[in-house]
């Protein structure tokens, strides 16, 4: 039973999936909530980068790799084993010989080649194309300059050789929602959006647009004895308050909690023992634009970090539903440095740094912010008096979420507050600070430090995971010292679950997305679920 175990604690205790799922019971209906919008954009998940569609993926589809929340890394899913060349660029996958699509078609190497070509097809403009770009020859295919992806080679029906552009871990790219495998014998590709067919543990049954997707157990699923559930109702519920009532009324089995609900649930005996928490791979920050004169000086950026009482904001405003950030890489990252302390709250040091930088009288700047309660205008308003005390006048510039994305990616800001992915792949997360990464990608603060570049390039070539993590840790600490951002917090995702639900895992990439084939319901569930 998972009871308020954080990922760190779980990993520390060595808790395994098997231990969590002891005494499994077959049968029942899970009512799962999809909280990120009031509709699914499409059932053709290869076409959609939205988190909302990942709920469908988990039930119906499978990718070559999958994220293992317990090991905290991508693992092989559709292949039983792989051989890797000495230089780490060529992976030969031995595909599962018992994996079958819901249509009855067995999985072959052709399906993977077909799927990757469909995802990378320039005419489709699918979001997963950038993930397929890790395969050799994909860039030419995406640009429309090649008919095939040269790095994909079918050896036989169940053996696929893939050549990658470098000695990367391809799991991070090929485990995505947008890189799942579809059957190559489809007659009409438009049918993927209406009646999806996949390799997952559940078969598509019904979609009521704007309401729910219903899936049922797939009897020929390749994992023996799984799934446990007979049916899942994936229900759309975007409103926190409505979800709260439905959860308390036992109409839904899980609910993702916001800060206010988290605080309330912690105070209630009936609810507090069934909260699953994890440090997700998102870092909340205020990013500084170095074209704004004061932010060119590292001491000014550091002064802002010293001037803000981050733990106080995390405690009072975010209701402890976050971990104060001590750098860019989050707690769940393999390259996280647990010995590195966050910037201390020290207004005197902040004043001294500002004086050294020639801003003893302070300055004024504008921060672009969305209305988000955890990383938007409410946080900015809490910071205003803290910065004022060291002489800095900060003005919030409220914008709607879409406009925030527009402003940040186009460099149209002095500062911005946002939540930015910082994992699960530490290499990819830190790539955002490489001097060659453009501001329009994710180097929003136009960070450039030759020492960082050197460490990053060395990590990129390093094949030993421990040595690679050490290099990335040093690079991460360099970023913390340079302070291109105010390091605010790492999100603590919290899921409340009913006492009869078992098999949930602390998924650091997105807690709301759970492996449905692992979940089971015990006999204490209400009749409607059993």
């Amino acid at each position: 039973m998972l009871k308020r175990l954080t990922l760190a604690v779980m990993l520390g205790l060595g808790v395994s999936t098997e231990a969590l799922a002891a005494g499994e019971r077959h049968g029942g209906t899970l009512v799962f909530t999809a909280p990120y919008g009031s509709s699914f954009a499409t059932l053709d998940v290869q076409a959609s980068p939205n988190t909302q569609e990942e709920f469908i993926t988990q039930a119906i589809h499978r990718a070559l790799y999958d994220w293992d929340s317990i090991q905290n890394k991508p693992v092989l899913e559709l292949a039983s084993s792989e051989d890797v060349s000495d230089d780490g660029t060529v992976h030969t996958y031995h595909l599962r010989d018992n994996a079958v699509f819901h249509s009855g078609k067995p999985l072959t190497a052709d399906d993977i080649i077909y799927s990757y070509k469909r995802i990378a097809n320039p005419k489709n403009a699918f979001p997963g194309a950038s993930y397929i770009a890790v395969i050799k020859g994909a860039d030419e295919f995406i640009a429309g300059k090649a008919e095939e992806i040269s790095g994909l080679k079918k050896i036989d029906d169940h053996t696929l050789e893939v050549t990658f552009v470098g000695p990367i871990n391809p799991g991070f790219s090929l485990m995505q929602n947008t890189t799942v495998i579809y059957p190559s014998d489809v007659k009409d590709e438009a049918s993927f959006a209406k009646t999806p067919v996949g390799l997952g543990a559940f078969v598509f049954k019904e979609h009521i647009p704007g309401s729910q997707v219903v899936v049922e157990k797939f009897d020929k699923y390749y994992e023996e004895g799984k799934p446990y559930l007979d049916r899942i109702d994936i229900t759309l519920m975007a409103e926190d308050a409505a979800r709260d009532i439905a959860f308390r009324n036992k109409e839904i089995d899980v609910s993702i909690l916001g800060p206010t609900q988290y605080q309330a649930y912690q105070g209630e005996d009936a609810l507090k023992d069934h909260l699953l928490e994890v440090a997700e791979v998102y870092t909340r920050t205020i990013g500084f634009n170095p074209t704004f004169e004061p932010f060119k000086d590292k001491r000014v950026r550091q002064a802002i970090n010293y001037a803000i009482n981050t733990p106080l904001i995390v405690e009072r405003l975010v209701k402890n539903k976050a971990y104060p950030a001590s750098g860019w890489l989050p707690l769940s990252s393999p390259a996280f440095d647990k010995d590195k302390a966050p910037y201390a709250f020290d207004p005197e040091k902040a004043k001294a740094l500002l004086a050294e930088a020639g801003y003893a009288d302070g300055f004024e700047f504008e921060v672009t912010a969305s209305p988000n309660e955890s990383w938007g205008v409410p946080i900015v308003e809490a910071i205003l008096p803290m910065l004022k005390k060291v002489g800095i006048t900060m003005k919030p510039k409220p914008v709607e979420s879409s406009a925030l994305g527009d402003a940040v990616t186009s460099g149209n800001f002095s500062a911005y507050i946002w939540s930015i992915p910082s994992g699960p792949d530490p290499l990819n997360a830190l790539r955002c600070f490489l001097s060659t990464t453009p501001p329009s990608a994710c180097n929003y603060s136009s960070y450039a430090n030759p020492e960082f570049d050197k460490l990053f390039r060395a990590a990129e070539q390093e094949r030993d995971p421990t040595k690679q993590s050490n290099l990335l840790r040093q690079a991460n600490n360099l970023v913390q010292d340079d302070a291109p951002v105010w390091f605010f917090n790492y999100n603590k995702a919290v899921m409340a679950y009913q006492p009869w639900i078992h098999g949930l895992v602390p998924n650091a990439t997105e807690l709301a997305v759970q492996p449905y084939d692992e979940i089971w319901i015990d006999e204490t569930a209400p009749d409607s679920r059993r």
């Binding site: 499409t42 959006a193 759309l236 009324n249």
Partner: protein, 311 residues
Amino acid sequence: MLRFTLRRILQVAPTVVVVALLIFVIFSVVPGTFAVSLFADGKRAADPQLIARLNEEFGLNKPLMERFATYVTDLARFDLGTSFRTRQPVVDLINDRMGASLQLSVAAMVFAIVVGVPFGFLAALRPGSMLDTTTMIGAISGLSLPDFWFGLLLMYLFALQLNWLPSFGYGDGSLQNLILPAVTLGVTPLALLARTTRAGVLDVLNADFIRTAHSKGMSEAKVVRWHVARNALVLIVTTVGLQFGSLIGQAVVIEKLFAWPGIGSLLVDSVAIRDIPVVQGTILVIVLWFLIINTAVDLVYAAIDPRIKQE
């Protein structure tokens, strides 16, 4: 009557054209694009290549006038375009949601009429009575309550405490699932109808022709049935029409709260992610719905009161 009907229907067309143009202009100038908004939730880093590919595919790189020409041409062919987000025809997306929207609006309006009109009528017949005072306090409360809060209150009471009704969702479209959202949505028009009916009936009761009817020795019941009800009906029908026409648009909050799959929630999702073809199509349908209801109301006027047709 035919000429009157035709004239009213023809008046709808220019309104639709003006609204369509306004929608295009507004969504051409608001900041944010579909491609960029894919990254707005902070769940993934911006991908400039994908942004460029999507802008290219959806023609967002083309000059404004060229996009406008395409929009107008498509509209003239009754083609609302293809959704950026779902890559399906906008008409299909609206069709998928229209049934649930109509179901909710009709149920809310029926609830408002069945409860609001009789109470307003009875309150006017006995001004100053306990019934009148209670009805008016109820009506003012109904108008003042925020929908969202009232919905949560109903959920708390009827789902969590009494366990009579489901707190959310469409289910299989059954009455059980419909009751709470319909009552929540219907409470504002109910309050408005009760107040309007009371005011309308009181106005008629003080008119000269009512005194004449009484002086002719007509019974109270006949006066109310033949003169008061019929004359007050024009005002009631106006209120019903205006409220009914705007209910689909007003249902946005209720749909989000109760996870009801109507076009209101489709509109909100589409605005947030700048799925412009869906936004344009949905708003047009809401406006068209409003115009159709109001045209229907005009026609009903003419049937109730021949003087309107003459004018």
